[in-house]
Amino acid sequence: MAEEFNHELLCVLSGFGGQGLLFAGKVLANTGLIDGRHVSWMPSYGPEMRGGTANCSVSLSDDAIGSPFITRPTALIAMNQPSVEKFAASVQAGGTIVIDTTLAMDGAAGVQLADDVKVIAFKATEMAEAAGLKGLANIICLGRLWAETHFCTREVLDAALAKCVPAKKQHLLEPNRKALQMGIDLAQ
């Protein structure tokens, strides 16, 4: 891959519990582990786990990471409307927002964004279901974010995904790969 390697990623992934955002965050975090970078993955925890919103913050950096809670993200994956409302305005200038408009139907409309923030909105959940990849909208979004920001090489991204699919659930690896590719292809 000849693309520029992005040296710091501060990514918030947010949506409903069950949409797989904590998993997508782990894939992201594992790219940093494989690259030998500083990494932190911080989930929201507590009552939110029980059916409400779920989010995690993933930092990839070449310096030691301060707070693992991200207040000014460079990237956001939002899979429901409350997540857009909660985090979109905090995305740094020049940052990237990926929104699954299946549930976040309004996208970033009405949100006061920082300068040069790129909003990428598409119906990830609908696409996943149409492609027989139910439950993998999270990975489609991750693929789309990677295509935009290149936070690691493609090889590392693939390796991280493989690493995160548990041994007992190897049958899910191929669908995950397809979903990732689908997200990346959306950038074409």
Binding site: K26, V39, S40, G46, S67, P68, F69
Partner: protein, 365 residues
């Protein structure tokens, strides 16, 4: 502390799970606890793994029962631990005091949340007083280690077991919801060879007709005897203070302002200090790793290096700041900045405080 023959692979793990894994590698085979957020992953990990290596995980009926099971297992000579979060740790105070009074080693983990009372479940450091001023009644202290990274969760619990055994004392890991819940890359310590664990000839495991009977006890009805045992225990405390103060210093060689912060707060402070340096402010970071003993020698050192002001940054209403003030003992001005209840300060907030101090100093205040 560990032999390096085993593979040193970096893995991505949650802080709470790392505490459990590293404890087992340190030779801990017994865990007694009670569920509470945000430390539950630790107990869950132990429940899964301990039985596979011949250990015992037991969910006790209460925190009180759990710490007393720890007391019993420790008296019987085992490496043993319990873990909880703030409200549950209060309940353990009784047992910890008995462990101290009976000179029984064991490790207590507190993954702190906000208080008082039921408080909240977000990260906090509001149990600093409780941990460092003796958790429970009576004249005692215990080593308190404060990890600020997931890697330190592994390194410090390993150390906690060794300190506990060496000085026959309970020892505490004072972590918080942030370090407990987050994942970071970690290199786990190698498995401790059980043969290298210290002998415990005082343990109550049956005299087998081979020695006089052992008694593990904290009751001394003679004031003189009780005083004498306390004197002896405090001699051990003096040795711990002399040998085991630990801290990390950053930019402290020429620092006129020194931010003091531990655990989660130190991560935020680190960013703020770096940003302040970039603005040309002569500021450093002193991160206590041992909260008891408090790193007084490091305070002396940074004062000798020219520190004029200390800023204690904590996730509470100002607790460690008292130790900073005691250690500075009038030689430097000490101020405090903190957020509480589970609210975390941003690095920007801390930077503002550092800038204010720098301006004050320029004006000669």
């Amino acid at each position: 502390m560990a032999d390096n023959t085993q593979a040193q692979e970096r893995v991505l793990m949650k802080g709470n799970e790392v505490l459990a894994e590293a404890a087992m590698r340190a030779g801990c085979r017994f865990f007694f606890g009670y569920p509470i957020t945000p430390q539950t992953e630790l107990a869950a990990y132990m429940a899964k793994k301990l039985p596979l290596i011949g250990g015992t995980f037991l969910q006790a009926e209460s925190e009180i029962a759990a710490i007393n099971m720890v007391y019993g297992a420790a008296a019987a000579g085992a490496r043993v631990m319990t873990s909880s979060s703030s409200p549950g740790v209060s309940l353990k105070g009784e047992g910890v005091s008995y462990m101290a009074g009976a000179d029984v080693p064991g490790v207590i983990v507190n993954v702190e949340r906000g208080g008082p009372g039921l408080g909240g479940i977000q990260p906090s450091q509001s149990d600093y007083f409780q941990a460092t001023r003796a958790l429970g009644h009576g004249d005692f202290y215990m080593p308190v280690l404060a990890p600020s990274t997931v890697q330190e969760m592994a390194d410090l619990i390993y150390l906690a077991f060794d300190l506990a055994d060496e000085y026959r004392t309970p020892a505490m890991i004072l972590a918080d919801g942030m370090i407990g819940q987050m994942m970071e890359p970690v290199t786990l310590p190698p498995e401790r060879d059980p043969k290298t664990l210290p002998a415990k000839p005082w343990a109550t495991s049956g005299h087998k007709g081979e020695r006089a009977h052992n008694v593990v006890n904290s009751l001394y009805l003679s004031p003189e005897k009780l005083e004498q045992t306390n004197f002896e225990r405090f001699e051990r405390y003096a040795e711990i203070k002399e040998k085991h103060q630990r801290q990390e210093l950053m930019f402290c060689d020429d620092a006129e302002i020194v931010v003091v912060a531990f655990g989660a707060a130190s991560r935020i402070a680190r960013t703020a200090v770096r940003d302040a340096r970039a603005k040309g402010i002569k500021v450093g970071l002193l991160r206590p790793i041992t909260l008891w003993p408090f790193p007084t020698k490091a305070i002396d050192q940074v004062i000798a290096n020219g520190a004029k002001r200390f800023l204690s940054v904590e996730l509470n209403m100002g607790q460690m700041v008292e130790d900073v003030r005691l250690a500075a003992n009038g030689r430097a001005e000490v101020s405090f900045y903190g957020r509480t209840g589970g609210v975390l300060p941003t690095p920007e907030e801390v930077l503002v405080q550092i800038e204010k101090l720098a301006e004050d100093m320029e004006r000669g205040e």
